[in-house]
């Protein structure tokens, strides 16, 4: 994690040798996870043989819509993203934080969950995912806003190896160029790939990445290949037409808390929390107890929560955000506004997941645009 600068000389890995990258990671002790198709979506799951990668699969994303289609394209990464990538691998959707045991004499014992995770290598991470990971690192490990490090997250993070793939095919919902987070990854990976028609440009971003690359049969990349990769990224960037109205909307949003658009969006929003589930930077979680049926032990769990629920802002006797208007406003003014004070940047990495997975197709760029536009 200390040395993630990209090495200047990219190498080339022919597609026929992609399996060797997975094998090298497995030999180094990593469990490999990569994209595959399940239930009509790109999901990250165990990766042993590269033929489970989504070769020839493309995603078509629109507000409220996510569809895959296949062709005979030889590429494995010619899609933008699926509903999740890194978030559930580091910040588990549900996990036990500790267990309480009641002894026969009535005394209590508390034990941490200390399972040491198997080192994990994730292949196919996008620039937007890396940007979101850097935010979660700040939140859970690097003690942003004075918080204590989260041990479970920190253990998994320390055992993580990242193979990023620059995005060549952003979806219609994507806008990472507008947030400054993509489509090319600039840091935070161990190995970075550019997918070309016949294989992969490979560069290293860390010592761990260089050690893995040293075990691969690589040839120096030709200049045309490097140029093709840069042109591909430039095309990807041009393809993205959605954008946020600015990088830092804090003052504008907090200056327009009574804008009529909050009411309008609240009439469409179902307050379902899909957006917060798929958002790679949303970190809210609830804590609850799960008792053994014989009463001998109680597990203290945390699971993802959403600011769109009633319980999120519940106090004894009243709910701070009783309606969808105040909940949507909380989400947006936090994500694009107060996030800057907490993390020194916006909480949006432009992945567009909240747009595609919103059942009614609410578009964060459109809402932010409407609220921040000159007309009020």
């Amino acid at each position: 994690m200390d040395d993630r600068t990209q090495s200047p000389e990219p190498q080339f890995l022919p597609r026929a040798r992609l399996q060797e990258l997975v094998d090298a990671l497995k030999r180094a002790g990593f469990r490999c996870v990569g994209p595959t198709v399940r239930d009509g979506a790109i999901v990250f799951d165990s990766l042993d043989a590269v033929d489970t990668l989504p070769f020839g699969i493309h995603d078509e994303q629109q507000p409220g819509s996510y569809r895959l289609h296949a062709d005979d394209n030889a590429r494995a990464f010619a899609w933008a993203n699926g509903p999740q990538a890194l978030k559930p691998l580091l910040f588990a959707a549900r996990e036990v934080l500790w267990r309480a045991r009641r002894q026969a004499d009535g005394s209590l014992r508390f034990d941490s969950e200390q399972a040491a995770p198997q080192p994990l290598a994730v292949i196919g991470v996008r620039a937007c995912d890396l940007a979101a990971l850097a935010i979660h690192d700040q939140h859970f490990v690097r003690q942003a806003h004075g918080a204590s490090p989260d041990p479970a997250y920190a253990r998994r993070r320390a055992a993580l190896f990242l193979v990023a793939v620059n995005c060549s095919d952003p979806a219609a919902t994507c806008f990472c160029a507008s947030t400054g987070d993509g489509p090319r990854a600039s840091s935070g990976f161990d190995i970075l790939l550019d997918e070309l028609d016949d294989g992969y440009l490979l560069s290293c971003g860390s010592e761990a990445g260089r050690r893995i690359a040293a075990g691969l049969v690589l040839v120096p990349a030709r200049r045309e290949q490097s140029e093709a990769a840069m042109q591909q990224s430039a095309r990807a960037e041009r393809k993205m037409t959605r954008r946020l109205p600015g990088r830092n909307l804090r003052d504008t949003l907090f200056g327009r808390l009574e804008h009529p658009r909050w009411n309008e969006v609240a009439e469409r929003c179902l307050s379902c929390g899909n957006c917060t589930s798929v958002c790679p930077t949303c970190f809210c979680h609830a804590e609850r107890e799960q008792q053994q049926i014989d009463g001998s032990e109680s597990a203290h769990l945390r699971e993802w929560d959403s600011c769109f629920t009633r319980g999120h802002s519940q106090l004894h006797g009243y709910v701070v955000r009783p309606d969808t208007r105040t909940r949507y406003r909380q989400w947006l003014t936090h994500k694009l506004g107060s996030w800057h004070d907490q993390f020194g940047r916006s909480g949006c990495v432009g992945c567009g997941r909240c747009i595609a997975w919103c059942p009614v197709g609410i578009d964060i760029t459109e809402e932010a645009g409407a609220i921040c536009s000159e007309q009020r």
């Binding site: 934080l97 309480a100 005394s107 989260d150 041990p151 804590e287 999120h312 802002s313």
Partner: protein
């Protein structure tokens, strides 16, 4: 180290303050943890009831006696209702202390105005106790408390006793009085004029319903008290208490870390907006 892990504590004494309010005096079972424990008034602990969950509760005892941690609790929910049923000798989990307490060092040499509303407002009870034990360090002490019904007032004899102390004034107000209610009937902000607040020397500390605090801030402004001399304790849903779970966010602030005590200018931007 797991910041979420509670430590075992024993209920040394349990006091029923009113039908719904009770005080638990807790002692950490591990002598090393007990020796290392230190807190400031205004900070809170997470109390864990076996099998039920955790709740954030203010510490009301004196910081110089951290061996015995007093928590005054109102039974208002699933966990606090169950905590109310625990007898002395029972065990529970404690982790803390958390948050930023009252600016009692800065307040030395100043007049103190304590404003509370509602029932058994624990965060300021800790201040009153602290100041009364170190009376010479502070100027005048004014305690202003509002309740809805006269019967709601806790510790009635304590208020009378405090009011008899030199340089100490107690002003109570009930929206609905009763035959034996000797204090003001009406809104709590109506008694501010009787408080003889010196706007230059006063530091105000308040907690209670936000509508009451909003009205109090306006009233104090009218009396010439500077906004930066007003401190208030905010209450939000808190589940982790270490700045991770996200529930207590108030604008950019995590109330569990940057609060629960804030100087008014730190929260004023959103204080009048419903939904934060």
């Amino acid at each position: 180290m797991n910041p979420y892990l509670p430590a075992e504590a024993e209920i040394v004494e349990r006091i029923q303050e009113s039908p719904a309010i009770f005080t638990l005096k807790l002692r950490l079972c591990d002598p090393e943890l007990r020796a290392a424990y230190a807190f400031a008034p205004g900070q809170f602990n997470m109390l864990y009831l076996y099998g039920a969950g955790e709740v954030p509760i203010s510490i009301v005892s004196d910081p110089q006696e951290p061996d015995l941690l007093e928590h005054t609790i109102r039974a208002v929910g699933r966990v606090t209702d169950a905590l109310a049923a625990l007898p002395a000798g029972a065990r529970l989990g404690v982790r803390g202390p958390y948050g930023r307490g009252w600016p009692l060092r800065q307040a030395e040499g100043h007049d103190l105005v304590i404003v509370t509303g509602g029932l058994g407002c624990a965060p300021v009870v800790s201040v009153i106790n602290y100041v009364l034990m170190r009376r010479a360090l502070f100027g005048t002490l004014t305690i202003i408390q509002g309740v809805t019904h006269a019967e709601d007032l806790l510790w009635r004899e304590r208020y009378a006793r405090w009011n008899a102390l030199p340089d100490t004034q107690v002003l109570l107000s009930a929206d609905h009085g009763s035959p034996l209610w000797p204090w003001h009937v009406g809104r709590v902000t109506e008694v501010f004029d009787d408080a003889a607040i010196d706007p230059v020397r006063a530091i105000v500390m308040m907690c209670g319903p936000e509508a009451m605090m909003r009205a109090a801030v306006r009233e104090l402004g009218r009396l010439g008290v500077q906004e930066q001399a007003i401190y208030l304790s905010m209450e939000r849903n808190m589940q982790c208490a270490v700045g991770h779970c996200g529930h207590c966010q108030y604008g950019a602030a995590f109330v569990c870390r940057q609060g629960p005590v804030f100087a008014y200018p730190e929260v004023s931007a959103l204080f009048d907006v419903r939904g934060y």
